[in-house]
C-alpha cells in the first residue's frame, strides 16, 4: 500500500435528503455541509437515528439525495441531475453489522474485490489477500469462514477487504458498535496503525465520544434529525497515538467540549423519540 497524500478529499455541500415513506415527508438530512481534507480522519458524532448513516449511504451510492452535491477530489459523485452516486471501489464501506460474505473464507472475501474488478487474476488476488491478512495479524485464520472467527477478527478482515482495493475513502458505519470495551480498544489501535501506514481518508460514524477523539483529526458533531453540522472540534493530539493518550489532560478537555455539544442533541433526540431510519 502506498501512502496517499492528495487524494480522497470529500466535499459535502448543502446536502438535503427527504424520505417519502407513504406520502409523509421525513427530512433526514437538512442542508448539511462539511469539507473533509485528503487523508483526514473525520469522525461524525450524533445521536442515534439522526441521519448520519443516510449521509454515508449517499456518499457510497446506496441512496439518492434530494438537494445539494457531494464531490470526491473535485469530481461530482452526486448532485443536480444525478441524485444517486454510482457505487465504486474508490469508496469502500465497512458495515455496522459486518458484511463479509459468510459463504467465503476470509481470504476469498478479501480477494473478491480485485477478482471481480479484473485487477488481478484469481490466483494472484488470493496470494495478495493472504499477505495482507497476515500483515493485519490474522494470518492464522485465513481459510476459516467468517462464522468461525471472533467479531474482532472478522471486522479486521473486512477492513482489509476494503483496503486491498486501494480506496480513496474508507466509510465506516459504527463498525465497533457491538463490541466490548477491550476488543474495541484493540480494534482502535489496529485501525490507527493501518491509517498511519496508508493515510487513507476515513469517514467514521460513531456515537462513542472517546472513540471519536481517540481516532479522529476532526470530530463533527451533528444535530438530531434532520441532520445538520452543529460543531466541529479539531483534535490536535499528535500521531502516532497510543492507548495512553486516552488518559491525558488534553484528551479530557476535548471530551468535555464534545460531550457538551452532543448531550444537548441527545436530549432532543430522546424527547423526539422517533424511530431510527435505515
Amino acid at each position: 500500500m502506498t501512502a496517499q497524500k492528495n487524494r480522497g478529499a470529500l466535499s459535502i455541500r448543502n446536502v438535503t435528503k427527504i424520505y417519502d415513506p407513504e406520502g409523509v415527508n421525513v427530512m433526514a438530512v437538512d442542508n448539511c455541509s462539511m469539507e473533509i481534507a485528503a487523508g483526514e480522519v473525520c469522525m461524525i458524532v450524533g445521536p442515534s437515528g439522526c441521519g448520519k448513516t443516510t449521509l454515508l449511504n449517499a456518499i457510497a451510492g446506496f441512496h439518492s439525495i434530494t438537494h445539494g452535491e457531494i464531490l470526491l477530489d473535485g469530481e461530482m459523485l452526486c448532485g443536480p441531475g444525478k441524485p444517486k452516486a454510482d457505487m465504486g471501489a474508490e469508496r469502500m464501506v465497512v458495515f455496522q453489522h459486518g458484511a463479509l460474505f459468510p459463504w467465503k473464507t476470509l481470504a476469498e472475501n478479501v480477494a473478491y474485490g480485485p477478482i471481480v474488478q479484473g485487477v488481478l487474476p484469481k490466483k494472484q488476488a488470493l496470494e495478495k489477500a493472504r499477505e495482507m491478512l497476515a500483515e493485519a495479524g490474522i494470518g492464522n485464520v485465513l481459510d476459516k469462514y467468517p462464522g468461525e472467527v471472533s467479531s474482532g477478527m472478522s471486522r479486521r478482515a473486512e477492513i482489509v477487504r476494503a483496503l486491498i482495493n486501494d480506496p480513496k475513502v474508507l466509510l465506516l458505519d459504527e463498525p465497533y458498535r457491538a463490541m466490548d470495551a477491550l476488543t474495541k480498544s484493540i480494534m482502535h489501535e489496529s485501525l490507527l496503525e493501518t491509517y498511519d501506514r496508508t493515510k487513507v481518508t476515513i469517514f467514521f460514524i460513531t456515537h462513542d465520544l472517546e472513540e471519536a477523539i481517540f481516532l479522529g483529526d476532526k470530530v463533527h458533531v451533528v444535530t438530531t434529525r434532520p441532520c445538520q453540522l452543529k460543531k466541529t472540534v479539531e483534535v490536535n493530539i499528535p500521531r502516532p497515538r497510543s492507548y495512553e493518550t486516552q488518559s491525558s489532560e488534553e484528551f479530557r478537555i476535548l471530551m468535555e467540549e464534545v460531550n457538551e455539544a452532543v448531550h444537548e442533541e441527545a436530549i432532543k433526540a430522546f424527547q423526539a423519540g422517533e424511530r431510527e431510519l435505515a
Binding site: A60, G61, F62, M87, G88, A89, R91, M92, V93, F95, H97, A99, L100, F101, P102, W103, K104, Y112, G113, V116, Q117, Y145, P146, G147, E148, R161, N165
Partner: protein, 295 residues
Amino acid sequence: MSQTAATTTVPKLTKAPTGLALFFYRIGKSFQTPTPYLTIFGVALWLFTWWLLCEGLKVDRFDKIPGPVAVSKDLFSFTPFQGISIFTEEFYNHIMVSCRRIAIAFAIATGVGVPLGLFMGWSRRIRDYAFPILETLRPIPILAWVPLSILMFPGFEAPVIFLATLASLFVTALNTMLGVDSIDEEYFRAAGCLGSSNWDIFKNVVVPGALPFVFTGLQISIGVAWFSLVAAEMVSGDHGLGYLIVDSYMNNVTVPMVIGMITLGFIGWFTSILVRMLGNWLMQWHVKALALQGR
C-alpha cells in the same frame, strides 16, 4: 489450595479421530446420551400398540388389519403367503420403478424450480410476471391434476412423473425465492462497493446466500414428490409402491399393502437424508457456523 490443584488430573489429550474412527467415536458417544434409548423405546411402544390392537386384543375392525407379526412373517419369508417379501423380485421392481420416477421428477423440479426461484427473488420484473401464476396454481391439489395429466401425456410414465414434478416444483421455487429474499441487503451493497457486475452479484451473493433455504425447500419438496407420486400411481400406473398399495387393496391382500407403506416410509426418509447430506456438503460455511452455535 495449591495442593488440591496439584492433585487434579488433566485428561490426556489425544489426537482427534477422523474418518471411520470418528464415525464409531460418535456412535459410542451417542450411547452416553438418552437419545438412542428413547428412540428404541418409542419404536417398541409403537410396535407393541400396533400388535395389541391387531393381534393381541383383536379389537373390532382392527382385526382385519395385518399386525406386525403377520407382516414380518411375510416380509422375511422366501415363499410369502401374500406374494411380496424382500426375497421376491417384484418387491424390488416396485421400488425401482418408484425411485426412477422420483429421480426424474425431482431432477426436473429442481432444475426448473431453483433457477425460477432465484430469478424471481433477484429480479422484481420476473417476480411480477411469474409469481401470480405460481400462487394460483400452487393451491390446486395434485389429485385435481390427475385427469388433465392423463389427457395431456401418453402412456403410464409421463403423467405420473408430471404430477410428482409439479408438486415439488412449487415448493422448490417458492423456498428458493424466499431464500433470496432472506439475504441481508448489506451483502448486496458490499458486493456493489467492491465493484461487482450484476452477474457477479448473482453468482457470489444470490446463489450462495439462498442455498440454506434452497436445501430446506428441497428436503420438503422430495417429501412432496413422494406423496404426489404415490397418489398418481394409485390412480394411473402399472407399477410402483403406490400401485402396489392400491392393487393389494383391490385384490384383498392386506399384507403387501402394509409392506408397501412401510417401505415407502423408509425410502422417503432415506432420500431426505441424501438431500440433507448433499446440502451440508455444499454449505460447509453454514454447517460450521451452526456447529459453533452448538447446533
